[in-house]
């Protein structure tokens, strides 16, 4: 932790001194994440690019006033969410209605996978396949990742927001709740639905 802080302090000093390499390092580290987070609030990739650019400018303009009460990362992402949220409200009308709604009940696994009645009611009719014996390349391959990305892109908005921040960006549950202004329970339910759909899609792909 201390090492991270020391590295960050050094980076901050260099940035305040106007060193391009320091800015470049920061951009390498956070730009794709910033874009991804911006995309959770605004509907077009072009607008997300604008939000990201505005964010970097705000970071540069605010760097002298950054007091280190939070980490640099937390501070940067607070800027992104603020800018993106404002922009998102401005183009809220362009978000299709269907993606605002949430389905009511969505089982994690199709109900017909379980025995309906009898002694084994509610137990697997046949077991899910083992994935721990699949070749590693299959799981980490570009095609697998592209499919997962496509599933996430098609999720209802709040599910997409939660799974992106939690599982792609690795935010803590509390950080996600505060960025999206949702309760912890709500966050967990949305995460469960989103992860379940990713699992289902992987099942369809990996076992075909």
């Amino acid at each position: 932790m201390a090492q991270v802080e020391a590295a960050e302090a050094e980076l901050l000093d260099a940035l305040r001194a106007g060193q391009e390499s320091a800015f470049s390092a920061l951009v390498q580290k956070y730009h794709t994440s910033i874009l991804r987070v911006a995309r959770l609030y605004v509907s077009s990739p072009a607008t997300a690019e604008e939000v990201a650019q505005e964010t970097w400018l705000a970071v540069l303009n605010g760097i002298d006033r950054f007091e280190g009460r939070s980490t640099l990362k937390t501070w940067i992402f607070r800027i992104v969410t603020n800018i993106a949220r404002t922009r998102g409200q401005r183009d809220a009308r362009s978000i299709p209605f269907s993606s605002l709604g949430e389905e009511t009940t969505e089982p994690a696994v199709e109900p017909d996978r379980f025995a309906p009645a009898g002694r084994w009611a509610g137990h697997w009719k046949s077991y899910p396949e083992r994935w721990d014996t699949l070749p590693e390349e299959r799981l980490v391959g570009a095609e697998t990742r592209a499919r997962v990305q496509r599933v996430i892109d098609r999720l209802p908005l709040t599910q997409r927001q939660v799974i992106t921040l939690r599982d792609v960006e690795g935010w803590e549950p509390e950080e996600v709740c505060s960025a999206l202004e949702i309760s912890e329970t709500n966050q967990r339910v949305l995460l469960h639905r989103a992860r379940s759909k990713v699992r289902q899609a992987l099942e369809g792909y990996l076992e075909s």
Partner: protein
């Protein structure tokens, strides 16, 4: 085959995220773990969910495009000279 009678597989799959998040009350967590020990189907399902989370996590390994990098360096130079 021994499967815990009070928690079905169909119920268990809805508790996986709470289990992984560590938010199940201790008594429910015990029932969950007992079930998974005795039921291969649920053990495989749990592993599939963990795998799904790991694959999703790998989406962050994406790097910035050279064009975006260029644009931002221009932003920086303008800012510095501005």
């Amino acid at each position: 085959m021994l499967i815990s009678e009070d928690l079905t597989c169909r119920e268990l799959v809805e508790l996986v995220t709470e289990y992984l998040e560590g938010t199940l009350p201790p008594s429910d967590r015990d029932r969950f773990e007992q079930h998974v020990i005795l039921c291969d189907g649920c053990a495989f399902h749990l592993d599939q969910m963990r795998t799904a989370v790991a694959v999703t996590g790998s989406l962050s390994e994406e790097s910035i495009t050279p064009e975006a990098q260029e644009t931002l360096l221009r932003v920086f130079r303008d800012w510095k000279s501005g």
